[in-house]
């Protein structure tokens, strides 16, 4: 790890002022569960680290009758604890499942909601120093000819082959959450899915945030009691899911009024799936099965990760089943 300047501002305005416009010059620090390992491995080398943990409003969680507002530095434990206290999990089960799926007590204690959403990919080529696009000296990707068992099956036509690792993002996307962003240019609100992009060239990041922009909160504005997240996670304890699916449903007389679906760990971004085809139809096992197959139709697996196509279909089916059952 390189030496760096450390700042601990008390307000968002101050924090934003301490961030550089230049990508990589500065880094916001919350729980540090990802940033510190990135710095230790010299994958990022910020000159200044700006801790957000002194900004009290960022650690607040507000649960209303039909609104949930989660500050960016709310820890995963605090999020789950608030769920026990005021039962927000019953209103947004998909988010509850996703948060509860992060099985490490240490990560839950230190990791924050904002940090979870903006953590860097776990691609082993990236983490071993081959760059986010895992290119060799000639600019060709090592991934298709390498070991890509965990890599993308969607959105991988460009140079990015990694998968986005966030557990919470697919759930928030399915639930229609918004993210609040603050920069010196002011406050803006975007849909959670709009936080992400697949980089197209070396040096590009996988998020749409400007270098001097902070994620301050995510907001859910509508209750979605029929929702669920299903993760295909090999180990019972801490492990990365191979794929995950989040669904949120509104039913009307047994028929689908609205449905939102998002997949995790299948693409360089969390991967929203168009569920319009379900609207107006009854949601039985056959319909869910057909939807799951259709949802994976456009998948472009690499030589050794076609199994993830199958797993994603299973995750969709099981997420729907869980949402309908209300578990």
């Amino acid at each position: 790890m390189n030496a760096f300047e450390y700042a601990r501002p008390a307000t968002v305005a101050e924090a934003v002022g301490l961030l550089s416009k230049q990508e990589g010059e500065t880094a916001p620090l919350a729980g540090g569960t990802d940033l510190l390992s990135l710095m230790k491995d010299f994958l990022v080398e910020p000159k200044r680290v700006v801790s957000l943990m002194g900004i009290e409003p960022l650690a607040e969680i507000a649960v209303g009758a039909s609104e949930l507002r989660i500050g960016a530095t709310v820890t995963l434990d605090a999020l789950l604890q608030a769920g026990f206290l005021n039962q927000w999990g019953a209103k947004w089960p998909a988010l509850w499942h996703a948060a509860a799926g992060i099985k490490s007590p240490q990560l839950r204690a230190m990791g924050t909601v904002g940090g979870e959403l903006l953590q860097r990919p776990r691609c082993w080529y990236f983490r071993r120093g081959h760059g986010l696009l895992a290119q060799d000296a000639k600019g060709e990707s090592l991934v298709p000819r390498g070991d890509h068992r965990y890599h993308a099956i969607f959105g991988n036509a460009g140079p990015a082959k990694f998968v986005h690792p966030s557990s919470l993002a697919p759930a928030l996307i399915a639930l229609g959450a918004e993210a609040e962003l603050v920069s010196p240019r002011g406050v803006r609100t975007v849909k959670v899915e709009e936080l992400y992009r697949a980089p197209q060239a070396a040096g590009e990041r996988e998020t749409t945030l400007a270098a001097d922009e902070l994620l301050t909160a995510v907001v859910l504005k509508k209750v979605a009691p029929k929702s669920a997240t299903y993760e295909v996670r090999p180990r019972q304890g801490l492990d990365w899911p191979l794929v995950a699916a989040s669904v949120a449903l509104e039913l009307d007389g047994g028929k689908v009024k609205a449905a939102r679906v998002a997949l995790g760990h299948v693409a360089p971004t969390p991967w929203p799936v168009d569920a319009a085809a379900l609207v107006g139809k009854p949601l039985d096992e056959a319909a869910i099965g057909a939807f799951a197959v259709a949802a994976l139709q456009g998948a472009t697996p690499l030589a050794k990760n076609a199994y993830k196509v199958e797993l994603a279909q299973v995750a969709i089916r099981r997420a729907f089943a869980a949402a309908l059952k209300g578990i």
Binding site: R122, W124, R128, D136, R149, V232, Q236, Y307, L311
Partner: protein, 709 residues
């Protein structure tokens, strides 16, 4: 007088009972100091610049920036220009600096340019390995073709397992201090080693001093599994740099180098055919096996078929593959778990092909093993404990999404004792000290020694002081091959029996009894069989005079003291989600013969630990290499996956402790229970899903592929 022979089990107060480790509290509270924990005044940290490729030649090397960095005290080049590095993370240069951080940064500032060469990291594909695969000669017994042709059923199996690494929780390394004392060089080496008495010479020769000048200390170690016999380059460097700088130097590997270089277990794959008669009798075995242990090839003994070595007609062939990856080191029963997987899978498939209950099939063929009676007894106990008769469903009969399966495997091992020497000091105040230059690789060495001494002197455990992990104590061989417990227990018994008998002789006149009739039991010295009179132990010891009694004991072989050769049976029950390919181990049963047990709790713990390692190998653990760069992709505990406690399932351990077993004496238990788990789990999965998963670890992709095949 006390006999050397192990006392009657019914007469024992602590020997063979469940005794918690005496150093357990030290370990759980952090009071125990591992090599990694040793920090000395003015100590330097050493870190490495390493090769980032699987195979590359050092074209240019510039250490000037590192040398110029404040805090850097010494830089040593290991791979000068022109050296061909043959494995990712191979050491190029080493930096010793005032702090760990400075050393790490300085190592990064060593500039190397590389002539990158094509690596071979394909350890599972003979074709792809090309001329790196050295095809061995076919071994053929007379009548093989006729036997196979005459078989009622010939089953075919293809299965294998990936390379694992030792991945010791405490990485490899040493902390070495070189001082001038009384005109002589004195070297102190704190080394994470499984050979305390033997490793000193390597430090000595690294800096040209005599072995007598090296003091080796290893009070506690965080895992070795067979990979920590030598000082290695890292220990030698610590010594060289300590001599060069005149300051203590700590060289401990970082996790990535630990996984890359500090030992691996070879992969093994095979295609096999088994010929059986209608009634299940095995008549022919054919195998073509391949695998790699890195630069050193692979595919060593015990060979195929495993355990069922007496199959009458055999045709076997092996192909070791030489790859650009970290070398193999002995790994808890070298090559046995792999050969067990290959053999037990092929036999299980033969049983399934024949439509025979797997348990029945193995029973039927026990005559082909070296320990049929023991296995028969163990199979019966294991079957009872896992509920085989009730739960067995023939392979392929289940149709649901989640299916359950049973599988079994059998293993064999030696476990005879190595040479240990033990010194017993019995002080006139009754204090007992035992010294032995052994180490605790996981055996529970301190506890085992204390248990034997306490039993022999008739004292409670806390009255015994055990001193180990230091080469100034009497010589004891390295801990490998399950050889330690038989050695240290019998040598301790020998030393303590001699000491107690000297004391009994001294106190006999006062007790008005011949020494022959006296014993030390329950803290008293009195006539055997009596419950009154006599002297408290400490009072009796005062009669030995001002000087302590000092005796030496050594390993006792045979005569019921120690022995070799065990068999073991394990069964697994699994649950497989056939949509996700995720396997859950429901229960493992291990039934093991081990001769006479010193501490039942530690013994059972050894078996449980082995089962957990087996679950890791069966489901999660493997080294992953990039074929293009030859780089290791998972030299970390994030993607070098081990089981968490929730993944382990119920572990049921049964030790064979009938009179027949006890009278054999003490036998080692480190290796044997680590052999069968992977095979038993593989067989259980095949039973559940009706297909053989071709490779361990049985990850979801491989399980789903097997279901489609």
């Amino acid at each position: 007088m006390v006999d050397l022979a192990w006392p009657d089990p019914n007469d024992c107060s602590i020997l063979g009972k469940r005794t918690p480790r005496i150093d357990g509290p030290d370990k759980t509270t952090g009071r125990a100091k591992y090599t990694y924990d040793i920090n000395r005044p003015r100590m330097l940290w050493a870190k490495f610049a390493t090769c980032p490729y699987g195979r590359a030649k050092v074209a240019t090397l510039d250490t000037s920036a590192a040398e110029a960095m404040p805090g850097v005290v010494a830089v040593e080049v290991i791979a000068p220009v022109g050296t061909e590095c043959k494995v990712h993370f191979q050491e190029v240069a080493c930096v010793a600096a005032e702090s760990e951080e400075v050393a790490r940064e300085a190592a990064r500032r060593i500039k190397v340019t590389w002539e990158v060469l094509e690596p071979c990291v394909s350890d599972d594909d003979v074709e792809m390995a090309g001329n790196k695969a050295k095809k061995g000669k076919e071994q053929l017994t007379d009548g093989f073709d006729a036997a196979l042709a005459g078989a009622a059923v010939v089953s075919e199996t293809e299965v294998g397992c990936s390379i694992l690494t030792h991945c010791c929780l405490e990485s490899h390394g040493s902390m070495v201090e070189v001082a001038e004392q009384d005109g002589k060089t004195a070297v102190t080496a704190w080394s994470s080693t499984q050979a305390v008495s033997g490793v000193g010479g390597e430090f000595a020769s690294a800096i040209g001093v005599e072995g007598s000048q090296v003091h080796v200390i290893c009070q506690h170690m965080g895992g070795g599994f067979g990979s920590k016999f030598g000082a290695d380059l890292w220990g030698a460097l610590a010594a060289r740099l300590a001599k060069k700088t005149g300051r203590p130097v700590k060289v401990m590997l970082e996790r990535d180098m630990e996984i890359a270089l500090a030992g691996s277990r070879p992969s093994a794959f095979a295609t096999m055919r088994v010929g059986v008669k209608d009634d299940g009798e095995i008549v022919a075995w054919e195998s073509a096996a391949w695998g790699s242990g890195g630069n050193t090839g692979g595919m060593g003994a015990p060979g195929l078929p495993y355990v069922f070595g007496n199959i009458p007609h055999k045709k076997t062939q092996t192909t070791p593959i030489f790859t650009n990856s970290g070398n193999a080191r002995a790994w808890r029963a070298p090559n046995h778990p792999q050969m067990c997987l290959l053999t037990m899978a092929a036999l299980s498939d033969a049983a399934a092909e024949l439509g025979m209950d797997e348990l029945e099939f193995f029973r039927k063929n026990l005559g082909l093993t070296a320990r049929a009676d023991v296995y028969r007894e163990e199979l019966a106990i294991a079957a009872e404990r896992i509920g085989w008769a009730k739960k067995w469903i023939p392979r392929g009969e289940q149709k649901g999404v989640v299916r359950r399966g049973l599988g079994l495997a059998m293993h064999t091992w030696g476990g005879g004792p190595h040479t240990s020497n033990v010194q017993c000091t019995l002080h006139p105040d009754g204090a007992v000290e035992i010294r032995c230059g052994t180490q605790d690789l996981g055996v529970g060495a301190r506890t085992a020694i204390a248990v034997v001494a306490a039993e022999t002197f008739g004292l409670p455990l806390e009255k015994i002081t055990v001193l180990i992990g230091d080469n100034r104590y009497p010589q004891s061989d390295g801990s490998g091959g399950s050889t330690t417990i038989g050695a240290i227990s019998t040598a301790t018994r020998d030393a303590c029996v001699k000491a107690v008998n000297q004391m009994l002789a001294a106190v006999a006149p006062e007790l008005n009894a011949p020494a022959e009739q006296l014993v030390a039991k329950e803290g008293m010295v009195r006539a055997a069989g009596s419950t009154a009179g006599g002297l408290p132990f400490a009072d009796a010891c005062r009669r030995i005079g001002a000087q302590p009694i000092v005796t030496m004991g050594t390993t006792q072989r045979g005569n019921g003291m120690s022995s070799s050769q065990v068999g073991g049976v394990q069964m697994a029950e699994v649950e497989v989600d056939c949509e996700t390919g995720i396997i859950r181990v429901v229960k493992m049963v291990a039934v093991q013969d081990v001769g006479r047990i010193i501490d039942l709790l530690t013994t059972e713990s050894q078996v449980r630990g082995a089962l957990i390692m087996g679950v890791c190998a069966a489901l999660y653990e493997e080294r992953v290499m990039d074929p293009t760069t030859g780089a290791l992709l998972n030299p970390d505990l994030e993607f070098y996956k081990l089981a968490g406690i929730a993944d382990v399932g119920e572990l049921d351990v049964h030790m064979m402790q009938t009179d027949e077993h006890l009278k054999r004496g003490v036998i080692g238990i480190g290796e044997p229970p680590a052999i069968s788990p992977m095979a038993a789990i593989s067989n259980a999965v095949a039973n559940a899903i009706g297909a053989r998963v071709k490779r361990c670890p049985m990850t979801p992709d491989r399980v789903l592929a097997a279901l489609k095949a």
